[in-house]
């Protein structure tokens, strides 16, 4: 029995080390490539591209974070603190934009707000033929598109914090004579801060690594520049240098965020807890709230989906719904489910060992796995490409290369839900099972796995969704004749064939919906 145990633990350990190595190799490779670059390349980039790219990336992330913060917190507040007809509907509707890839929203708004587009037409009917509206291909255009797409991150986390919020803190402040506003600013918001910061962090990481929207809206960020360097030049060193900058930027941000959260821990010291009472709304108040929420969800989800549906029904779009199109659906589904399965299988030992045997090695491996977070899609693709060509050339050109890139990129998202689900079951249960005579394997199968099943499913669904939407790595690594829905959207939308891109885009959105309903029911913590 002891021999069996040793064997299985060490094989688990091996699996952990192997997957960690797999995750760290690309990062190491990109770093090495960047550091080995000639100093003239560094100099050239610093004097030409880097200042603009850094400024663009940071200011976009900042502006989107700020707007998403305002939008996310205020909508969460509306649906948790007030009671009005239709509240439950809006509670769900506000999450829907998460099913919309940023590049789909970008291409819809490119059409809507574009030069000579329908919105400008309306505007000119009111204000005269010469007036112009905000171009979607501008800083504010990109900011608005990104905000509409990412504010649900903040909304979700703030909402769940507000739902589990102990209202006695506020009541104490009020009885001590603080005004309603003062209470909100000095008591409620600080208490919500950890959740809000976590939500904003997701937004920032998302914006910084986004490729699709910025490329369709022609806004130059580091991630976009990395892709351009990789596809427009015949050496990858400049791309790797820009990637390293991006990684450093993301790391700096993550550290700041950790520091923020460390400084804000609040504890419930007595057992007295009361959930907040919702305020009943007058009819005019309810109308105002409904109008607000309808505008937000309409802009972020309703109008785009309506347009996509209309376009999909057009005759041009119908013409492409042939056998080839179903091939794209199959490719997308196959890739996404394989990647999700592989990532869950790979993440499980990592999360398990880190919580059961928290040695520095295991904890280190877990932390290292999060490296995928800071490695943007094109960079992950670049590293995977080179690694496979040098180490396992016979696999090159197969779907496996793509799957490795996906796992690398999305494993952290899966770990976010695997880790807590393993931590929640006490080791006592497994120990009890062992004392009752079950072997290690049996214990896993009959006790541990069933208990963490929900966590695994959520992780699987999350990665499935992300892979479905993924663009840059798929563009660079796909095997011959292996397009996915996301690729089709990008190819058609970048030539402004709105109708032709619509069916694929609509499908991506629709596939995402059932998964979202699953996520809505729990405290959701993943990008």
């Amino acid at each position: 029995m002891i021999a069996v145990r040793r064997l299985s633990v060490s094989s688990l350990q091996l699996a952990v080390l192997a997957s960690t190595a797999l995750i760290l190799l690309p990062l190491g490779y990109v770093t090495a490539l960047a550091l080995s670059a000639d100093s003239t390349i560094w100099h050239r980039l610093w004097t030409t591209r880097v200042p603009e790219l850094l400024l663009n990336t940071v200011s976009l992330a900042g502006a989107v974070a700020l707007l998403a913060l305002v939008l996310g917190v205020s909508t969460a507040w509306m649906v948790t603190r007030f009671e009005f007809p239709g509240r439950r509907l809006w509670e769900v509707a506000l999450v829907l934009p998460l099913a919309m890839p940023t590049y789909v929203l970008a291409y819809v708004y490119n059409y809507l707000l574009g030069y000579g587009g329908p919105v400008e037409h309306l505007w000119q009917m009111v204000t005269g033929p010469q007036s112009r509206i905000l171009s979607p291909q501008s800083f504010w255009g990109v900011t608005i598109v990104m905000t509409l797409d990412t504010f649900p991150f903040v909304y979700l986390l703030t909402r769940s914090a507000l739902l589990s919020f102990n209202v006695s803190f506020e009541e104490v402040a009020r009885t001590c004579g603080a005004s309603q506003l003062r209470t909100m600013l000095h008591v409620t918001l600080p208490l919500l801060r950890p959740s809000i910061v976590a939500g904003v962090a997701l937004v920032v990481l998302y914006v910084v690594s986004d490729f699709g929207a910025v490329s369709l809206l022609r806004y130059q960020t580091l991630t976009y520049a990395v892709f351009q360097q990789m596809t427009g030049r015949s050496d990858n060193q400049a791309a790797s240098i820009l990637s390293i900058l991006l990684v450093v930027l993301a790391l700096l941000f993550l550290l700041t965020e950790r520091w923020f959260r460390r400084k804000s821990r609040f504890y419930q010291t007595t057992g007295r807890y009361r959930a907040p009472q919702r305020i009943q709304c007058e009819w005019w108040h309810a109308t105002a709230l409904t109008a607000c929420l309808a505008t937000v969800t309409g802009l972020a989800f309703g109008i785009p989906v309506y347009l996509l549906a209309m376009w999909s029904l057009s005759s041009e779009a119908q013409a492409i719904l042939d056998a080839r199109f179903f091939g794209f659906i199959w490719n997308s589904a196959l890739l996404s489910s394989l990647a999700a399965t592989a990532a869950v299988l790979g993440g499980l030992p990592l999360a398990y060992l880190a919580s059961r045997k928290p040695t520095w090695l295991n904890l280190g491996c877990l932390q290292a796995a999060y490296a995928g977070y800071v490695l943007p899609g094109p960079v992950a693709a670049l590293a995977v490409l080179v690694l496979f060509l040098n180490v396992m050339p016979f696999l090159y050109g197969t779907v496996i290369v793509l799957i490795v890139a996906y796992v690398l990129h999305f494993l952290p998202a899966g770990l976010q839900s695997l880790e807590p689900s393993i931590q929640q079951i006490t080791p006592n249960l497994e120990e009890a099972a062992r004392t009752l005579g079950l072997g290690v394997r049996e214990t896993w199968r009959r006790v541990t796995l069933p208990l963490i099943r929900n966590g695994m499913i959520v992780a699987w669904v999350l990665i499935f969704l992300q892979t479905m939407k993924e663009l840059p790595a798929t563009l660079l690594l796909r095997p011959v004749g292996f397009d996915t829905l996301a690729i089709r959207v990008w190819l058609e939308a970048s030539e402004e064939y709105y109708q032709l891109a619509a069916p694929s885009a609509l499908l991506i959105v629709l596939v995402g919906l059932p998964a979202l309903s699953l996520l809505l029911s729990r405290d959701w913590r993943a990008a």
Binding site: R218, Q228, S234, L389, L476, G481, L491, S494, E495
Partner: protein, 355 residues
């Protein structure tokens, strides 16, 4: 004490039946098998990497399949991206044929030793030698010219005679240009450098950069769109983008200016789309059949007309909507030099800080 295991035993069934490892292994097997479908007829298939956009090449390849029965698997992507990919793949590349929209990229593939020289009388007869590699490693298929497209309601043709005019400050915020990664831009600037020297080219690029501002596009079709809508007055694109737009929207206010035709001017900048057969292909005969198809009169007509380009076969006429080929002059920089000119051109483009 005994409650937990009992409770669990109710839920055991599902995860056991899911059996992730088994499912995964099965999927893996499926995948390993998937990208290489059964080799029942390896000779009747070709894998083509194409830098030409899918809708402009697929009909021709479909016609080829219809004629010969040879299936074609197509990977459409950016031209430079494909050269990078071919270089990385080396002898392991699954590709048999490389179709590129830029002679410079074809020449780069040749110098990287990726292409196999062709010795075919059909090619010698159909395509004039200035449109082929010295050893016939690649063969031009259609000609494309860098032109200035203008919105006819905003600009009159006499306002611009040369590409260099576009650096004039009066075009500030009125020009749309392709981004620095575009092979057309790189080839065009290479020709200007070879004709006029680095200093003058640099001044030109700086002016162009300032005038374009944020109107820097990934796709030339977007430039034409912007000019047609009057968002900018002029743009620099390959000629066929304009004719393709006009074919769909005949009333669009678009005009084509063939630049640098004035006495002593450098002439219009020409590039070709072309084809090369990869060295490591095991389907050389099928690949040769494709080349044969594309250089023959029918193939030439179809290949060029789909994209509104100029056929290179002397006997084949271009689409009647195009400016007649005899009526303008071409810059004298040989296509085969585009590859060696490219690296310093890229450096210059980046020094200027174009996007």
């Amino acid at each position: 004490m005994y409650r937990w295991p009992r409770q669990c035993s109710r839920t055991i069934g599902v995860p056991v039946r899911l059996n992730f490892a088994g499912v995964f292994a099965a999927c893996l097997l499926a995948v390993l098998w998937l990208p290489t479908p059964p080799e029942v007829s390896a000779a009747d298939k070709l894998i083509v990497y194409s830098g030409r956009s899918e809708r402009l090449i697929k009909p021709v390849l479909d016609a080829f399949t219809a004629k010969t029965g040879i299936q074609v698997d197509l990977l459409s992507s950016g031209t430079t991206e494909l050269v990078n990919r071919l270089k990385a793949e080396g002898g392991r590349s699954p590709a048999d044929v490389f179709i590129s929209n830029d002679a410079g990229s074809l020449e780069m593939a040749r110098t990287a030793g990726l292409l196999r020289p062709l010795n075919m009388p059909e090619v010698e007869q159909a395509i004039p030698p200035q449109f082929r590699a010295a050893d016939n490693s690649w063969i031009g298929l259609s000609g494309r010219f860098w032109i200035i497209v203008c919105n006819t309601t905003m600009v009159t043709p006499d306002q611009i005679t040369s590409l260099l005019d576009l650096a004039d400050p009066r075009w500030k915020d009125k020009i749309a240009i392709p981004n620095a990664g575009s092979e057309y831009l790189q080839a065009g600037v290479s020709v200007i450098r070879a004709s006029l020297g680095d200093d003058q080219t640099k001044r030109f690029l700086e002016g162009l950069r300032n005038n374009a501002g944020t109107h820097v596009y990934q796709k030339s079709s977007q430039i034409v769109e912007a000019v047609a809508k009057g968002q900018v007055s002029v743009g620099v694109v390959n000629h066929y983008y304009v004719y393709r737009h006009l074919a769909v929207q005949p009333t669009a206010p678009l005009g084509v200016m063939m630049p640098d035709q004035q006495a002593g001017g450098m002439g219009a900048i020409m590039n070709v789309a072309g084809i090369g057969i990869l060295k490591h292909t095991s389907r050389f005969d099928a690949a040769k059949l494709l080349v044969e198809f594309l250089v023959a009169e029918v193939g030439q007509k179809m290949f060029a007309d789909l994209d509104k380009e100029y056929p290179l076969h002397p006997e084949v006429k271009a689409d009647s909507s195009l400016v007649e080929r005899k009526r303008f002059r071409t810059a004298s920089v040989p296509l085969t030099k585009l590859a060696e000119l490219r690296e310093p051109t890229l450096l210059l483009i980046e020094q200027v800080g174009m996007r």
